[in-house]
Symmetry: C2
Subunit: 324 residues, 2 copies
């Protein structure tokens, strides 16, 4: 099986590659080849099968054709401009998040080998008046350009699938928490920062109220979603190719209490509340959670609770240690 990953150099991309290398197979089929792409060429994993890496902008004409020239059997399209950046730079957001997807879909259609195409969408497709929890058949009214682009891509994915050009599965990631490393330009970055920075001995800013609830998945659970999306029988999805993923729904206050349980008061004391109107405008909903019945019945598995999410971060990204 030949696997193509776009956005392979990002946090999710790198963790996905680690998992694929460890597993050696997807859905019982041995991995025999990888094509890894990102804006800057990603590193090569140490494996016995061929791995091609390349750097470039997938939203430029001609780039996508190069990526699929050897007809990958499985595509993970992770490349995207994140929410804060898409809001700040309208044109770049549309170019990368919409045109990039369209070029890749068209290249796959032209190639004609009908691969499984896993697309990472987001809970940012939901906004406006939201029921609590959000049912699977709720309409998409994104509150930002990032979410709007995700809905557009979901629709293209579903239509290309229906037309028989590929076999698409779109998964709407909850917030990925705890995101390791430096803060990125995602406006939702604070959900991770308030855990990661204090564990690193640094101060973190909480820009929203303690009562604001969001749904989270650890990077490990998110990689599990991607693998499940790659393996699942597409016929079970019918026309509805895009799925709300299950997650752990907690308020920022509950996040902080979970951190206190694991790391103590001194770590929690590094969090400062500084309300930010811009961020609250990008995420205006007080509670965002999902029943995710369909995904649960289709075998997508969430983390157990937010403490588990913090433990996964400490184990996977901090070598089991944190700054007391």
């Amino acid at each position: 099986m030949h696997i193509l990953i776009t956005g392979a150099g990002g946090m999710i991309g790198r963790k996905l590659i680690d998992r694929l290398v460890r597993d050696g197979q997807v859905g019982g089929k041995a991995i025999t080849r990888m094509t890894l792409h990102d804006y800057a060429a990603p590193g090569k994993p140490a494996v016995s099968y061929p791995v091609a890496t390349s750097g470039g902008d997938v939203s430029l004409p001609g780039e996508a054709e190069k990526l699929v020239k050897d007809a990958p059997d499985l595509i993970f399209h992770l490349a995207a401009v994140v929410s804060g950046e898409a809001e700040a730079d309208f044109e770049k957001g549309y170019r990368v998040n919409i045109d990039g997807m369209r070029y890749l879909l068209e290249a796959v259609r032209a190639k004609g080998n009908k691969p499984r195409f896993v697309f990472t969408s987001s809970i940012a497709v939901f906004g406006g008046d939201l029921p609590d929890p959000i049912p699977d058949d709720y309409h998409q009214t994104p509150p930002n350009s990032y979410g709007a682009a995700k809905v557009v891509c979901e629709q293209l994915l579903a239509d290309y699938t229906r037309r028989g050009f590929l076999d698409g599965v779109g998964i709407r990631f909850p917030g990925i928490t705890v995101r390791p490393g430096k803060p990125n330009a995602a406006a939702s970055g604070f959900y991770s920062s308030i855990i990661r920075e204090p564990l690193d001995g640094k101060e973190a800013i909480l820009p929203v109220p303690l009562t604001k609830r969001n749904t989270h998945a650890s990077p490990r659970a998110a990689i599990g979603f991607l693998i499940r999306a790659a393996e699942i029988d597409g016929a079970r999805l019918g026309l509805r190719r895009n799925l709300n993923m299950p997650g752990v729904a907690v308020t920022t206050g509950e996040q902080i209490e979970a951190l206190r349980k694991i790391a103590g008061d001194k770590v929690v004391a590094r969090i400062r509340q500084v309300p930010d109107e811009v961020i609250m405008k990008i995420f205006p909903n007080e509670s965002v959670r999902f029943d995710a019945k369909r995904a649960l019945s289709l075998g997508f598995v969430p983390d157990k609770d937010f403490e588990e999410i913090i433990r996964i971060h400490i184990e996977e990204d901090r070598g089991g240690k944190f700054v007391q």
Copy 2:
């Protein structure tokens, strides 16, 4: 007020122009200028104010800029490839229905005058498992490429509105019935043909069961929707810029009985049932109707019943007569 209409040469376009010429104003503002566009240049109405007409393909780069060069205050974007054609010619459907919209939105954004932008979407955005009736907040899972393109455009419209580039209102037309003139390439054309052709003394084919229910609006009601969409206070819509329109929900059997009441058995006898698998696959749902609560509360007015829809056709398109 300067009004731009794309697809101005089509059936809805021509009836909209007639209405605008008759009214002389929209929302209390006098019409002072029109720009009318279609693939082939549409005819000029006899009015005292300037009317520019042009022909061309709005899905080609540069065309949209020409249309908005004089900063229209109100845009009706009606131009589209219909469902049957979009299903038969994938590339043309995407080019006209998606790229055409994108170019026009971009031209409006570049111009910077933030016009009211009325977009005609369709109930084809709904498919798969549908509740009966469909509530306003139901998700969009289009069963065909035409519907997929409409969802994409709705999302672009809402995002451009949210970003402050224009003031968009998208209206999801029910089936427009009775469509006058020759059958077009819409796969849904039979809903009109089974009324129009028998009234014209000709045989008509019913390709679906008598129990299949759809929601209809007369061209006159549809024009009413467009005018209401042009006039409404955008602030009342919030993030949800795309609205299910109200209509008359009847089965094809009920359509035929309404025809019998108005025109008699001899006219009805001209309808022949010939099941068509291709058409049933494009419209797989047994019943498509809406509560349309939001649109009703916002002042969009449907026809009274299907008999009224037939009478409007006889009056407006047949000079009050039909072939007994």
